[in-house]
């Protein structure tokens, strides 16, 4: 009797184990469609960009696109304009956003994160519509793209990227070691010293990921510069768009490769990948 029930138990155990092993394989297989999609629509396109960047219009290997990029004065000016506006926008967003993130990290002023929600909310209104609204308002106020392309573009950029700066800064500010700050004050540091010796170093990861969130997208933006400067300021995004609409695949692809190189460099320099960045780009919203 007992041996029989033991047998039954054994066989049952075996079956489960078999099922388990079979399923352990099967669970892994759930990632196959995901992997196939990523290979087809992420990896292959990027490889093709490299292929087009280093071939001519007949598909033969050539460095014409590279030569064209590095010898053309207009492309150099695009590169420098993009870098310049990227740096400017990043600095302005940090200067405005940093105090806001610090203030909001105080729970009394920001009950249940309501204030943060308020800062993020405009992001849900269609981005092109928001950009158009900014332009119309600015031209009503006399800062139109025709006469003042640079300030108008910069204001548009700050409008769009400020929430992306505040979110990562806010998440790091929540983790600030409050007792260290208090201790610094108690031990005789003045306000400025407390800031430079305690708050700033602690919030550095937030500053880095906020800069990453702002710098690259600013450089590569199309709609904001096109709308607010009325086509007077050409950034990387505008230039690639122009190449695309004139079927200049090789030139456009080479510019994309340049962008990828810049991303690679910034990621090597900051070395924190995009762990916080993803949270800021949208993960923090929901």
């Amino acid at each position: 009797m007992s041996s029989k029930s033991n047998e039954v138990l054994e066989s049952k155990k075996q079956r489960t184990r078999k099922g388990e092993r079979f399923f352990a394989l099967k669970r892994k297989y759930l990632a196959i469609p995901y992997a196939v999609f990523l290979v087809l629509f992420v990896i292959v396109p990027i490889l093709l960009i490299f292929f087009y960047a280093f071939t001519d219009s007949n598909g033969r290997p050539s460095f014409d696109a590279a030569k064209d990029f590095f010898t053309s004065a207009s492309k150099w000016s695009v590169l420098f304009t993009s870098l310049f506006i990227g740096v400017q926008n990043t600095i302005i967003c940090l200067l405005i956003g940093y105090p806001i993130a610090y203030i909001l990290s105080n729970k009394k002023l920001n009950k249940n994160g309501v204030m943060v929600m308020l800062f993020v909310m405009p992001m849900w209104i269609n981005f092109v519509l928001r950009t158009g609204a900014t332009r119309d308002l600015l031209s009503w106020l006399g800062i139109d793209g025709g006469n003042h392309p640079w300030p108008a573009t910069l204001i548009g950029m700050v409008y769009n990227y400020l929430p992306f700066t505040i979110l990562p800064l806010y998440t790091t500010m929540l983790k600030l070691d409050k007792s260290q700050i208090e201790a610094a004050g108690d031990l005789g540091a003045n306000g400025f010293q407390v800031f430079t010796k305690s708050i700033l170093p602690q919030s550095l990861p937030g500053i880095i990921s906020a800069s990453e969130m702002v710098f690259m997208p600013t450089m590569s933006s199309y709609v904001i510069s096109d709308t607010l400067s009325e086509g007077k300021i050409t950034l990387f995004g505008n230039s690639i768009y122009f190449n695309f609409s004139n079927s200049l695949w090789n030139e456009g692809s080479f510019m994309a490769v340049v962008m990828l190189a810049i991303i690679g460099i910034t990621m090597l320099v900051t070395k924190n990948g995009s762990k916080d960045g993803t949270a800021a780009r949208g993960g923090g919203l929901w």
Partner: protein, 288 residues
Amino acid sequence: MVNKKNLIKKILAQTYVWLILFLMYLPILTLIAFSFTKATNLGTWTGFSFDLYADLFKSQEIMTALGNTLIIAFVSSAISVVLGTLGAIGVFYSKKRAKKSLEFVTQIPVVNPEIVIALSLTVMFVFMGSYIFRNSIFSFWTLLAGHIVLSLPFVYLSVKPKLEQMDPSLYEAALDLGCPPNRALRTVIIPEILPGVASGFLLSITLSLDDFIVTAFTRGSGLLSGSNQIETLSTLVQAKIKKGPIPPEMRALTTIIFLIVLIIVVSVTISNGRKGKKAKLRKGRQDR
């Protein structure tokens, strides 16, 4: 004395925050204010009227674009959620090497600027069209693929932490108690990661609704636009504002979108607040 200083600090901080908030909302609020008058340009007030709202619903163009936008957002998000959730589960139970390489590839669309994603996809579609299909393949399907590329990594990234937080013994317990693996997946794993799946879905919707570049590059004809190029809200507004100010009826549209967003945000905040309170209550009871 110290109290007074703190009070001043607090007031300054509050003023600063509210001032920046006001500036950030100013363009939208201006559009909303002028949605109640019929003037073509911002800044001129020709009397209060609801005419723009009537015009909005009569505008075939805008309604088509809205319909297209919603269809693309929901279809692409639904596919992203299925692919991304299964992908996250699969990767979670994969060996280290496969896991590492897939995680790396997942990061690519996240760090890539949208214009590079758009251009790379377009180059591939042109390539496929000229060498494989011998015909232009730009259509709803290429647009759909573009939007899935945009949102898929974010679904993956919002499901992954939930899988990591999950208690692995739950699933094993289910198997030990005789639950077949497929059912264990459905009744144990999926409910555990559901909040991550939901936030992935909402995130996909927002990314898709907001997208301009990928849409402009990868679209073809189809959907509600029929034999014309598919217009979404973003591409339609962009085409309009390239020529002049925002069309008056779109001011009315902004008001409606703003109201919908406001309602959603307020209800989410309230429900979060309640959840927080409940959690606190529960914790209090435990402490006792």
